[in-house]
Subunit: 443 residues, 2 copies
């Protein structure tokens, strides 16, 4: 059997006027069978839409009719026939079948409902992701994710960034800390990398000037929230001869570009999700850490002291405040205390208790962290030590700073959070095909 003749068209590609008498073959899933006695409708579903197959009792070969009536929902079929205009059917046509081939019959009952009439629990949907994906809503999310990644790469490539890959198996923790998954690497202990941070910085010493990476990161944090994953997709850049403000500009312009591209290329998917996207206005508002503390203390019972990190509740307060003021969901928090930023964040030369680190926020959560990095090796060693880490474990990294490391800056943004905030999705697991969290390791 050659499969070349299993499908001549997607359901969305059929135009009865253009086709005339030409036969077509569609292939997909039996979405629905409606047997009204004198007439039987089969709805076939493929990635691009649906087609109505119409069998009129009086005009149809009885065997074919019988076959159609007995089709099991969600079975995979290939159907050949001729096309007639039909305004009430999906895509404006109906297919009068000559032949129906069942390629793979589905068991029943299905592990979950596909019609969308019954909303299944998230865990049920994730357990049966292969069924969940047959719902237009779910597929739409991943079509949009595809457009997001395409826009990211397009934007960064057009702006002189080179795509690179860093190793996921590493000998040292990126930022110290304990949130590491240990691996047995032959006879040695290794870890899954938490971030490309140290590697993309090394590439700056190598002179690659501007690099980006899109890849998995792994964090062994025991979170159990709607916005944390233990394996996520990170979008990272690093750029030489740039300060934090330069890369903040890259970031906000990239986000705006992504929104534009999604609106332009995925309007159907947005419509399925009922999302009306507005391109965020650039530049995003810059809120200083000091102002952020003030906003929280003025608007809530929380009393934050200078030097405190901002928790989820504080972030919400600030996000709502900024939204009320600007009508925009995206903003930056800048000028953070050096002590609560990672060791590689550059302190301001004239006021080293403040750092050139920044966070890019959505009204509902943090999306991205970045900074101008320390490029002076002595200062870097000092900062590693002051955070209680051992510079010896970072020798492979520090070495790159001693032989001509340029000033540089960068950021990382979580792909999933970018998509979920764009689409107003409530749980991050909804925007990952096969999420990994403390409890979930399968499928």
């Amino acid at each position: 059997m050659s499969l070349a003749n299993l499908r001549t068209h997607y359901t969305s590609q059929i135009n009865p006027e253009e086709l005339g008498d030409q036969k077509v073959t569609v292939a997909g899933w039996v979405h629905e069978v409606r047997d009204l006695g004198g007439i039987c409708f089969v709805v076939l579903r493929d990635r691009e839409g649906r087609a109505q197959i119409t069998l009129v009792k009086k005009k149809t070969d009885p065997e074919l009719l019988e076959q159609a009536r007995k089709l099991v929902r969600e079975s995979v079929v290939s159907i050949t026939g001729s096309v007639k205009p039909e305004g009430k059917a999906p895509n404006g046509y109906e297919l009068i079948p000559d032949e129906i081939t069942v390629l793979n019959e589905a068991d029943s009952p299905l592990p979950m409902d596909t019609t969308g009439k019954v909303e299944a629990e998230l865990d049920t949907r994730l357990d049966s992701r292969f069924i969940d994906l047959r719902r237009e809503r779910t597929t739409s999310i991943f079509r949009i994710r595809h457009e997001v990644l395409k826009a990211v790469r397009g934007y960064l490539t057009d702006n002189g960034f080179i795509e690179t890959s860093s190793p996921k198996v590493v000998a040292t923790a990126t930022e110290g800390g304990t949130s590491l998954f240990p691996i047995t690497y032959f006879d040695r202990e290794a870890f899954l990398n938490q971030s490309p941070q140290l590697f993309k910085q090394i590439l700056m010493s190598g002179g690659l000037d501007r690099v980006f990476e899109i890849g998995p990161i792994f964090r062994a944090e025991e979170h159990d929230t709607r916005r944390h994953l233990n394996e996520a997709t990170s979008i990272d850049i690093e750029a030489s001869f740039c300060d934090h403000f330069d890369v903040m500009e890259v970031l906000e312009n990239m986000v705006a570009y992504i929104y534009e591209q999604v609106i332009e290329n995925a309007s159907d998917s947005l419509a399925v999700l009922g999302v009306e996207l507005k391109v965020p206005a650039v530049p995003f508002k810059r809120v200083t850490y000091d102002e952020a503390i003030e906003i929280v203390n003025a608007n809530t019972d929380e009393m934050l002291n200078w030097g405190d990190d901002l928790g989820t509740a504080a972030e919400h307060t600030i996000g709502e405040h900024v939204f009320k003021e600007t009508g925009e969901s995206h903003y930056f928090i800048i000028d953070w205390p050096t002590e609560i930023k990672p060791f590689y964040a550059m302190p301001y030369e004239d006021n080293p208790i403040l750092s050139k680190g920044f966070d890019m926020m959505h009204r509902t959560m943090e999306l991205s962290s970045g900074a101008q990095r320390i490029h002076i090796p002595e200062l870097l060693v000092e900062r590693i030590e002051s955070q209680g880490l051992d510079p010896e474990g970072f020798e492979f990294y520090l070495k790159a700073f001693r032989y001509g490391m340029p000033p540089h800056s960068g950021w990382g943004i979580g792909c999933e959070r970018l998509v979920m905030t764009m689409l107003g999705v409530d749980n991050i697991r909804d925007v990952v095909l096969f999420p990994r969290d403390r409890r979930r390791l399968s499928p």
Copy 2:
């Protein structure tokens, strides 16, 4: 200090005619200092090329001249000055400096030579990748890799493939076998995934129709060769309602497109490497497994029996034979014995001892494996068992076949092998920024 004024131009962007009296600032590494007494030349290097800085003793401020003379090689500097046409200098101009700022002085001696006069050992270069990358040859490889990935995504996206991501942390081995790195995942044992295979197949049941993924794969094989890595980048596709011949066409056309794009977009990098690329002619020759065995037995002392796998020496013999016959480096080997292909490869319906698996070969090595996959759940269970594996461990995968799995096919191609065969690079470690092998876990 704002960094915005550290660089106004890359060295390649400077055109003395256009600039006139306008000052420029370049930033990069001190590539060379040549002090001839009455005149001192500093060569500054950035990602895009080199610039000659000229200081004539009689016309230059003595302090600035002294500073230039004392510049330490490979230090990072920013230099502002005016531009004069100079036919003998790189890019046709020289820069007469007003100001030289040393941003980070390099230690000396350097851990390896950067001039290319002394060719360092691979291990030395990998230990100091940040220095190795300052050689034009090395950077050119990664510029080309960037173009390769861009071309892959462009080709697949234009052909209806949606980008997806599969988890790297998994509970089960993809193809059984023992080449797995174990992870401690909270209180459970998990593994690093060897391939997106099972997941991309599940997406076919989900109706995504055509998907691709570019991401890391992990194999705990104790190889120590010039063409194996323990962490590699795999380019994977899966397509529904397609047989193996359909996806072979996607593969060969994609490879030809990549070569075209690299020629078009990376001619400078190809020139640095001295590589003259020829776009492979499509279709690639199809050699059956039977013919392959015959070629080996007729041309070497090796006596292969039907059912034997093809080793490295056999692959070379076949590759040379095909090259002599066609003048082309790429070809397919098709119609493999079912027994030596993975359990998910579809046997031919009319002759099940042969499978619809294929390999796509380069004259020098295997590049890609693919197949039409088994989509019938009963047959799949049978094949899993016949390979001595336990279907229970594959339940999350088998489930997706019971409720409407379409016929589908796919392949995976190693990004590194694609790049190394394209460029005639001898060791796969040369085309990975930070390779991972049995002995190397750092940097």
